[in-house]
Amino acid sequence: MRCGTRHTAALLAAALVAMATALGACGGGDDGGGGGSAAAGKPATLNVGVIPIADVAPLYLGIKKGFFGAEKLTIKPVLAEGGAAIVPAVISGGNQIGFSNTTSLVIAKSKKLPIKIISQGDIGGTSAADAPDAVLVKKNSPIRSAKDLVGKTVSVNTLNNVGPLGINTGLDKQGADYKKVKYVEVPFPDALGALEAGRVDAAWVVEPFVTAGTAAGYRVVMNPFEQVAPNLTVATYFTTEKYISENKDVVDRFVRAINKSMSYAQAHPDEVRQIVTTYTKIPPKVAQVMKLPQWGPQLNEATIQRTIELTKTYGFASSPPSIGDLLYKG
């Protein structure tokens, strides 16, 4: 009987293995072109993990304009549900490069994940006037300015990340106690609904939800990115230390091409607004009027340094990395 159990357990296990291998054969997803190391100047295919938001428009524009083609790079954007899924995909090598907000990468690096920032991703507003992010409240809310958020419930997409980082900074500047803000996690697409239903007192959102929210009559009380610093490097492209050491040439070519794409996107907002509707489902009407982030070929290191310091100040990372450790500079 004992023996029989073991025998049949093995049989079941074999069936599961068969299921797994049958899958390996049915394939179709990946052509395997991504992982291989490429010698200098050799064509290479890169899977780049991105999220479906306007911020990654330069990547799509760069593909369309042939900036990556000129570097013999084939870019395959891999849409992830959220930034949280991108880091593991890059670490595991499924994606060679990923797009992630700077704060997440600082925290990841402080947890000893072997990543390096390789290029600018996107930049916040120069001031509150052109900010692509906002903390919104209902029209009749008693919250008038940032310091009124004390004691209130504020939704952010991720706790201990760039949203609270910026809001805390803003409160600190006004001498208000940021520790008395009650943050709750609500994904951006659901935040305005939560605000309308009164489940939160204020909601931090990014475009296209800032435009949707102000169109619905909500008031802006602060702009967290711009509180951290004007022209904040909100997000960056990154890869692993291993990938850099094995494919330095490919990484350098990617950086050249994405930087060219950044400048192009910054100079051609109309093309950005058009291409955004091809890889997101942002309604064209909204895409025409929403605030765009800024893009540029340089990493704004001063703002990355500030982000590193603030993650420590607010306890999101107890021993954050040095900026030299975080950046790859070719």
């Binding site: 068969a18 049958a22 891999v78 549900e81």
Partner: protein
């Protein structure tokens, strides 16, 4: 059905749920109608069905033979029962991290999850079906000198087929649920990913239109299987009473 639709319509139009975040069902259906004439929707449906078909196919190919094997022997059944009862309740969704790690974020992960989830109900149905064979029929066949293979083909299988058919129908909807879940969570191409894109783009109407489309797809598949079952098993007693009622 009409009542449910009317309730949803009133919830939204009456302002119980804000129309901006939960469109009236009439708006949703209008959006869906519009989507029916775009290639995007059908492309997504194709991707979802691809994952569903491969997942269900693999589950059938493995669960039916294994179920017959396990169901035919008392000892084998007792020996495997514990491990089946252990593995079966594992929600496939919990295996997503494993699937992503092993198969990445494409079709293979989706197929693995769909196959794993739809394997169990079919296996259990098949085992029960085989065990439910009338022992008199088996003994009769044996006394007539039928070989093991003949008994399987002429007595066991025909008797178990209705169970298996029900199992396939259940597994089909399980496979569809898992395919869409994988698209939603992992981002594999298909209806689930389109729903997510509509969500993160703030296009609430499109999101609900796609959700309704997913429901309709499940309904169509289930209806197809019920029909197929009736047609193939019209000779079986289990189908005779059902004939008139539905």
């Amino acid at each position: 059905m009409a009542t449910v639709l009317a309730v949803f319509e009133l919830l939204s139009r009456g302002g119980v749920i804000h129309r901006r975040y939960f469109p009236a069902i009439s708006d949703t259906l209008a959006t869906l109608w519009h989507e029916l004439f775009t290639g995007e929707l059908w492309n997504a449906v194709g991707h979802t069905l691809e994952g569903w078909a491969l997942g269900l196919g693999i589950a059938i190919a493995l669960a039916v033979p294994l179920g017959i094997l396990i169901g035919s022997g008392r000892l084998l059944y007792r020996a495997t029962r514990a491990i089946i009862e252990f593995l079966r309740p594992i929600p496939s969704v919990a295996l997503i991290p494993l699937a992503v790690l092993v198969y990445g974020s494409g079709l293979e992960s989706k197929v693995f999850l769909a196959a794993f989830a739809s394997f169990w109900p079919l296996l259990v149905q098949t085992v029960y079906g085989v065990q439910d064979v009338d022992p008199v029929a088996t003994d009769t066949a044996r006394s007539f000198g039928f070989s093991r293979a003949q008994r399987l083909l002429r007595v066991t299988l025909p008797s178990a087929v209705p169970y298996i058919a029900t199992g396939v129908r259940i597994s089909s909807s399980v496979a569809l649920i898992l395919a869409v879940t994988a698209e939603l969570v992992i981002g594999a191409a298909g209806l689930g990913r389109e729903i997510n894109l509509a969500r993160s783009g703030g296009d609430v109407r499109l999101m609900y239109a796609l959700i309704v489309a997913t429901g309709l797809l499940g309904w169509v598949l289930s209806a197809l299987f019920t029909r197929l079952e009736r047609r193939v098993l019209h000779w079986h007693p289990s189908q005779r009473t059902a004939e008139g009622s539905a």
